[in-house]
Every structure is written in C-alpha cells, then in structure tokens.
C-alpha cells in the first residue's frame, strides 16, 4: 500500500534516531532545562539571525496553537484566522476550549488577505456595539497553509502591519514550515519570518522529527515578547514534555548542517513530480500550490481504483460526482514510491 495520506506517517530522520541511541543512557534534567535544549535554541536563533529570540519546544501542533494563542490573545478577544485555518477546522475546538473565539476570514486558497483583515477590523471598530462583540486580538496564519499555498514576503509584511495597527500580534503556524522554506518561488526565509512575525513555530512532527514544534518569540517589537511565566502556561495547556531533552535533541539535529531544509526539499520535489504527472495525464489540480500537498479533483471511479493501492487524504466533496483528494508527500517519500504512484495514475 502506497502511503500518501499525510506527512506524519513515518518515524524520524536517521540522524535523530542515531542521536537518541547515543544519548539514551545520559542523565538529563527535566522539562527542557538541559544543555541539549540550550544548544538547539542557540542554533535556531542563529538560523533565524535573531539573537534576542526566545525559543521553546512543545509537544505537538494543536498544543502549540492552543498554548500560544491563549497566551497572546487578550481575554476579551478572539484570534483572526482563515476559514480554512487548522485552528478553525481541525483542532477539536481546542481554541474555544481555552476561551477564545476564532474569528474566521474568507480564505483564498488557504490564505487571508491583508486588505480584508483591515476591512474586518475597521468594520469592527466602526460598529457602535463593538464592546459587545469579540475583539480581534491576534492573527493566525499558516505557512505553508492548509492548502499548501504560500504567503509572499510582501503579503506577510502587510499582514503584520495591519495586525500591529489594530494592536494584534501576528502568529505564524509553521507546522509545515520546512516545506514552505524550500518551495519553488518561496521568498520568505527564516530570517524574514523572525523579523516579520511576532511569534511562529518551526514544525518538527511533519518535517523529520518524531514529534515536537519549536516556538520562537521573536522579541523585536511590542507584540513579540514571551508571555510571562510561559513554562507554566505550556504545562497548563498540556504541551510540556517531561523528558524535554528529547525535543532539544531533535531540533538540535534538524538544525545541524541545515538538515531541516535538506530533508524538506525532498517532499517538494516529489510533490512537483506528482503534479507534473497529473497535469500530463489530464487531471485537474484543484489548487495551484508549490509545497508538499497536491490537491486534485477526482471522480469516484478513479478514487475507487486508486484506493486499492494508495492511501490518500479526503479533502471535501467538489460536487455530486467529484471529490477533492490530497496526495501528501513528506521528507521520507522515496523516488520509488512516487514512481509507483505515478504509474497508477
């Protein structure tokens, strides 16, 4: 069975497994207060060219989104996100469970638009009754988005500008950041991100690690400082790992010799090959996206036929007879697997 259903179906990069084996008997202090975490944080700060940034390692994506959003969003406010944003759709209500409304903006292939954000906020504050409504209190975007698309540097800068104008930090969910950084046409580097965003995270779960996300508070402006007693907040939200060095170890490995981007690039290359094959064979790509997620609108007989040999992701019904499906590559997808998939198309 070919596995293209998601990008977290496999263990970790061999380098991480090797480090786990090497350090397995070493004694470390708990909760991230170890030297491995310090070392990884230093490497991430360096990769971000952000010596003042504050780095934290959390267990997974939903935990990170919940912890960060609940920490940076005022109690009287919600978080603005795309209608298609992970926090709005696929996190089991974790944001609302921590007390905040997700204020959903229309999405454009997964992205929100700075002008629409501006208009939303302007309309909000122009409403006589705004004190009875949920304030826009922070802005959440994903890079790459849930549809595999990318914000350009200009778009992200404009979003930050609008967010800050309305007193909101800009938070970038980087669960798939590796695939964004290495995509063809991407113009946002880690340094850019650390300069533009107030807080973002570098996804490990989907890019080479067994699990883990590295949260970066960028400390470059009034919205980008670490929330007070953040460790306590991380623990309260279920995002703290007892054996914290396991997270430090993984990110230290991923940020040694640029491993993170090297392995991420593979996913995009495999996805590009699938996209090319689909186009060649006359399939209809649902969205034009440069990263590791390939969306294609298929009819039911094709889905049935492929499903005998390939695990794909269900996205949504397109119409009565067609469905949007997703082929998802990852850092671990091999040429052979992609060849096999293409042969089946």
């Amino acid at each position: 069975m070919l596995s293209f259903e998601n990008d977290y179906s496999c263990g970790a990069t061999p380098e991480i497994l090797a480090r786990l084996a090497q350090t397995n008997e070493t004694r470390f202090p708990g909760y991230g207060s170890d030297s491995m975490c310090e070392q990884a944080k230093a490497k991430i700060r360096e990769a971000c060219a952000a010596p003042d940034a504050d780095v934290w390692f959390l267990v997974g994506g939903t935990q990170t989104n919940q912890t960060v959003i609940d920490s940076i969003t005022p109690q009287y406010a919600g978080v603005v996100a795309a209608l298609s944003g992970h926090v709005n759709v696929h996190e089991a209500g974790a944001i609302e469970a921590s007390g905040h409304k997700v204020l959903a903006l229309p999405h454009h292939n997964g992205k929100i638009n700075a002008d629409e954000l501006d208009a939303y906020c302007a309309t909000f504050y122009a409403d006589d009754n705004y004190e009875h409504m949920v304030f826009p209190g922070s802005v959440y975007v994903s890079q790459a988005t849930e549809y595999g698309t990318l914000y350009t540097k200009a778009e992200l800068e404009r979003l930050a500008e609008v967010a800050h104008r309305y007193d909101m930090p800009l938070f970038v969910d980087g669960a798939r950041l590796g695939y964004a950084l290495t995509a063809e046409g991407n113009d946002i580097t880690l340094e850019d991100l650390a300069r533009i965003a107030d807080v973002f995270y570098i996804g490990g779960t989907k890019v080479g690690a067994l699990f883990g996300e590295a949260v970066v508070f960028t400390h470059h402006g009034k919205f980008s400082d670490t929330p007070k007693h953040f460790l306590t907040l991380v623990k309260q939200h279920g995002a703290l790992l007892a054996k914290g060095w396991l997270l430090g170890l993984q990110f230290d490995t991923l940020f040694t010799d640029n491993l993170y981007c090297r392995i991420a690039g593979n996913a995009n290359r495999q996805a590009d090959r699938i996209r090319a094959a689909l186009r060649d064979k006359g399939y209809q790509l649902t969205f034009d996206a440069p990263t590791n997620q390939v969306f294609v609108t298929l009819d039911q007989p094709t889905i049935d036929r492929l499903s005998r040999n390939v695990r794909m992701g269900f996205m949504e019904k397109a119409d009565d007879t067609h469905t949007v499906m997703r082929f998802c590559t990852s850092w671990y997808t091999t040429d052979e697997q992609t060849d096999a998939l293409i042969a089946l198309l």
Copy 2:
C-alpha cells in the same frame, strides 16, 4: 429626543412596579426557592400547556444563553447558530468563554434553514476527520430572530426533527418571544413551542420586565430534560439572582391575565405603523419582518437629519453611501411617539 434605539430603554409595566411596592417589605427565602416563583412557574406551565415542564428564572439574555448552551452542549461539541445569531455576534464571546465553538450557518434574514442544517451535519459526519473537528452538539435559534423575522411552525418542527436526528437539542432564544407570539402571520403558540423545542426562554427584559428571562425545559423527550444540578450551573455562570422572588414576581405578573402578550402586541402595532409610513414615503425596507424591529436602508443625509430628533440603531453599512438602520419599538412605545417619528420621516 425620540427613543427608537432598542426595546429595553424603559422600566417595567406599571403592574410590576405595583407588585414590587406591595411586596417590598415581605420576607422571602433566597435564590428562587420562594412561593412567588412557584406561582409564576405554575402559570407559565399552564400557558405552555406543559404540566411537566421545568421553569427557571435567570437574570438576563446573555447569561441565559451561556448557561443553557454550556449545560446542554457536550464538551466535545459546539452550538449551531445563524451567522447573525446573538450568541455568534453580540455576546462578547460568552459562549466561547465557556468552552464551546459557535458553528455558524448562513442566515436568511436571520433564520437558519433545516435543509442546510441537515447538509451541514451530513457533511460533518461524512468527513473522515470528523473526530478532529467540533461536533455539532446543539442548535440555537431565536424567535423572533435578530432581524425581526419569524420561523413558521413547519420550519421549527423541521429544525427540531433534523436536530434530534443528529442527537442535538433545539434551544430557542425567546428574548423577544412576546413580539413573535403576537406578530401578524405568526403561527407558533407557546404550546407549540413547548411541544417542539427542547428548551426555550421567555424574554422579560425586552417585554415588560425590569430584567429576567424564564427558561423552560420542556421535558417531553430525550433531549428536553433539565441538566442535573442546574441551580449550581446557573450560579456558576453568573445567572442566579439572590433575591430570586423579584424574578418570580415579574413573571407572575406578566403571566396573569395574558399581560405578556397584551403589552407585546403594542410594539408590533407601532412597528406596523412605522413600516406602513416608510413604504408610503418611498423608503426601502431592508427586510420584510412582522415584529417590533423595523430595518430600513437610509442615505447619510437622512440619517443625519433624523438623528437630530430620534435615537435609532446602527445595523451595518449597506454600501458607501447607505446604511441599514433600525427603528425598534417596544411594549412601552406610545402612539404619540410613533406619530412624532412618522412626522419626521
């Protein structure tokens, strides 16, 4: 200054003030455990022809919506409501503050559609990932709606049928129920409501009382029982009044000799007169609604002119030069005030 900005700008019916004066020195036990509350509950059960119904008196509308929705909606679920629903727009995030997402459906002049509810739920359960999403856990509608429109009996029955099919109670916000019950063309009586809805409330704040809403758990089916230890939940959500008999007294008065509907009818009559005048004078009514809220799309010069003598409600920008405004009548609007408004139009 003429006051048409809302329906809660005035004290209570004289009958209530008189009862307050008569009983002011009487000693009552606290928190609704008094004979006045018992008497009012009996009258409401009778008016609903629902001898098994369980009636509670809460302080206000937002408190009631938060308490009821948080009590009837499972922890893993959200409440389905119209995009324009009060709980989605104008309650300061009280629903999310108690942990639940509002799952917003499109509205049609304030109403949701049973077929769209059905489709929403069917799509939800057809999604392979639904366990990672927010379950539809209860359904909230307002009668009259925030746009002054009404559900028909057939529409409400159909909503209840769909809700129950997907294991959801149907909750009807009756903050303006009096204006619904007495509107021209309305075909839903209190008895119908008690038979169709699982839980609803009879608004006092906007219909004759100083404050207070009467929640009715209808106890006619598997979704309509009172949540366990509801008094504790009411208190926890800030909706319990120490001097509970003040609520009993008001509802006892309103449900004596049909006072509730008698005073509500006045608001609709005044609104009908305003609507007729607007039509006569060539204004554009924004929605066709039979209750006490009159929505009209005005240009800015007209708004400026009227604002010198009339307090109206801002609804939303219609376009660059027009705004949807609201004239709101109430049980206390007099013929003279309406005459004066009409003269200004």
Copy 3:
C-alpha cells in the same frame, strides 16, 4: 415566622422604590451608559475621596467576584483567599470555572493573616518547582468577612503591602461593606479602602438595593487600574445588566445623604441587641464579631424549639450534639422583630 436567615430577604429601601416609580417611564440608553450611572459614580468617587477611581455596576456578588478575579489574576495564577472565603466555598466553583485555582490560606475567624500570606508566597518562590505550581496572582479578602469579623486598617495595609511585594493586587469583597463601615470598633473608612485596596466593591444586594454591586478600581498604583475593555469582560462573565440605569439609580440613591451607612447601622444595632441577649441568657457566641451576623453554638433541642418560629442559617456542625447557627440581621430588621427573637431565646 421571624426571618433572620440572611440579609437579602426583603426588597429595597423605600427611597429606591420611589425612584424606580418616578423614573419608570423615562427612556435611558442601555448597559450603564446613562446619566443616572454617571451621577452615581460621581457620588461614589466623592464618598471615596478618590477622584480618579473608576466605578462599575454589576448585577450580583458571585458575578462580581468571578469577573474581577478573572480579570485581575494572570492566566498562570490563582487567587489567594481564606479557606472560609465566599469564593472558596459558596460560589459553585465560579472561580475555577473561569480557570483559576483558589489558593486557600487558613482563616482566623474569617480573616487571613499578612504574615501567613507572606510566608505562603515566600515558600512558593523558594520551591524549586514553583513554575509547575499555581502562582499566587491576586489576593481576595472580604470586609466584613463571611464570619462577620473585620480587618483593621493596619491589617489591611499590611495585606496590601505583602500582596504588592509579590506582584498581586488586593481585592476586597464588600458584599457586606455597609455593615463593616458602621460597625462598632471599625477603623476603615471608604476613603481608607479606596487608598489601600486595588479594587473593591460596595455591596448593594445585602445593603438596601434590590440587587447590584458597585466595583471600584481605585487607580492609585500599578495594580489598581481597570482591566482593558472591562465592559466586554463584564458581559462575557454574565454580570452586565441591559437596563443598567437600574443599578445607577439604586447606588445614586444609596449614596445620597449617606443613606447607605444610615441603613446599614440599623443591622449592627439589632445584631448587638441579639448578642447582648444571648450573652445575658448564657448562650455561647461562637465568634466575637461586631457586624450583622451573630454566630451562636446551639444544642439540637434549642434549634428545634427556635426553628418553629425563626428562620436561622445553618453554619456547620460543632460536635455531635451542637451546631453553629447564624442569626443575620439586615438594614430592614425592625426593633419588633428583634424583640420577638429575643423573647424566644
């Protein structure tokens, strides 16, 4: 039946009822944005000799405690309170429902001790694991306490000093403040309270009003400013009244010609008479307290005998054969009622 079971068993002072009648037909804007509220706030600021103070009117005590505590206590922190504090015992878990632990200190006839608070905080910060624990984030005391006792000015100043040293605001629950201000031996005036506390409230429900509490953010130091967008927080916590002028009207009346303290004094006088009678007749007063709550330890036959004619409050079992009971007087207790009670003792 004599009513000594609590201090909220009766309506409002006649002056308030008269004002309600006078203004019943006046139109007011909603949610406290009216002139009556402005006028009442000015009088309270004057009574507090605190021209910069910010005054808000909320519906009831539990709502006020929940709203204020959740607004002033950091997310990573709890509120320190006496084990016997109302928020720890009798508010249905409203504080925890809004996410905060109540950090209970031992009480001494209802009071906490500044040295014990200091020791608690010192121990907390001396613990290597304090980031895994709940930070002390605010301090809650009641004046008068739940046992009718009073903090002295020196005690309250010392509590504020310790609280501030550990970065905590001091919040004073004044549900029974009138009975404190007018008690024999009390040395804390409203001016003192506004100077010492960061935020406190003046109870209306138990002292002359139908309902309502006046919250005062004292704006005299770094812990005493109003939380941002407090109206939104008040609404979110179920503490906002639509017809807000009803609260303004009541507090305006209570703070005209010192009515608040005049009526409160009566409760203490009646309680003093009951205490004297109990002592004369050889009963054992459980606590020595100067305000309107009289605690006495009774055997069961006495309880049974009195219960035929008097409603009292149950406090707790003292031992197998004795129970601590409470006689509670109020602003409305008459000499005749007290005479009748004394005759029964």
Copy 4:
C-alpha cells in the same frame, strides 16, 4: 554528578529503542489508529484480565490527568484529591484551567482515607447550601502516591465503595504504577486495579518509555465507561500524539514478557538499598514508603555536602535547619550509582 533527582532523567529501555529503529521507516496511519496500538491495547487488556477494558495512549501525565478528570467530572463538580496530590500541587493549575476545583482532603503520607472521604461527602450533602458549593464529582488517587506510599487493596476497595455511593468514579493516577506493582508488601495487582478502579493509567514516562501513559477505562460498572468521543476530548486537551504508533510501540514493548514490571522492580531494589544505608547511618527517613522515592530529613550542611556530587529533589522545609529531600531511583538506576550514593552518605 550522580542523578537521583527524579525518575525521568534518562531515555527508554533498550528494547524500545530497538523497536523504534526497526519500525522507523514503516508507514503508519496517524493518531493511534494503527496496528501497533491495537496490539499494545490487547496486551494491556490481557495483563489486566479485563477483556472489555478500553485503552488509550496519551502523551504525558499532566495531560492525562487533565483530560480524564475533565471528561469524567460533571460540570457542576470538582475532583476530590489528597492535599498532596499531583493534580492539586504540581500541574500548574491544569485542572482548574479546565474548569474544575480540586477538593483537597488531608493526606496521610500521601494517601486519602475512605472514612474521611465519606465524612466529607456526608457533610457536603448535609449542608443546606450544598447547591451553592462545588459538588464532589470524582475521586483522584495516585498509586504509588507522591510520597511513594501505597494503598492496600482493602483501602482502594473501600475508596471505590465510598466514591460510588456518592456517584463518583474513582480515577487512579498510575504515573508510577510500575513501582507500586513491584514494591514489597504491595497487594494490588493490575487485575485488581482494573476490577476496583473506574479508570486508571499505566505510567510510561517514569517507567521505561520515552514518554506516554496508557489510560484504561475499565468498563465494569456504571462509572467506568469511556466518555463519549474521547478521542476528540484527548485532542482538545492537548494529549493526542500525531504519530500515535510511537505510543503503541512503547507500550507493546513494555507489556511483552512482563518487561514493565521487570524494569520497575530494579528501582525499588535500589531504593531499598538506599533506605537501608540511611537507616544504618542513622539518618531519619521522613516517611516509611516501599517504592522508588526515598524521603529523608537532612540538615543543611549535609545537603550542601551531598549536593556537590548528587542531584536530589527538594521536597519541603521541615524546620529552620532541616529540609525534607528526596532520592529518587528509577528503572535505569545502576548498582554502581547506588553504591556511589551510599558511599557519599
């Protein structure tokens, strides 16, 4: 530096590392829906002799406590726990952050007493005001406790009996269950636990795994069923791992050939040796406990001297000159390390 500061300072058992390496390139479906998890669940059910039990794998201890307690405790209720319970002291307020009060009972070397639980509940329901208080809604105990002590089978059965009588499930935190099962004098087997408790968990983080806890809903009575849509609740509370098979793999390994108990036994043996040495050398053991935590009251010079070579845990100040310290052994503690510690004592 000798490491005796806790039992989670080292990686995983070599068997687990080997399995990680073997399966690293295998593709698995996400979120625990894989065959490895199924296999591990079957082994746990067998070890518990509980074929109907429902097993779930969560990321860590605090996440598990928060998720389970919030899922089994009614909204109007709190969780009863020892004053020294982990959920009451060392989880950053995670229980309160999810809305529930921890109702703390006195502890006896870490244990609560069934008679005191009974008395607490009886007093609660005997209080006239109990509807205004926080209901006891579930019972939490740890086996082994935070002080390393153990409940006997009779004690646990009696706790379950009392809990059920008051409509509460009994939840056993087994973060250190391995050390309990293998302690000298322990009389509670896994089978017993699955028969007595309603829900419990088998700790992996502290007993051989990199991370992870196995929650067992025992499905033997009216309080022991899995909460509806538990996966959604697990995700909402931040306790779900994307690569769920990593948890299945670890528990499958630990429950193959009784590995879990075999490695746990080592910790107890090392602790017994330390306890014997301490007694021999005249130290004062603070508590008498048979598991892997050794509590000893030391004076400051001794602490200073030992701290140069040993990492220990701070527990609490005993008096001005003495402190309770903890030596914690684990499955990975070697004879050589224990020898070295003993030599230093």
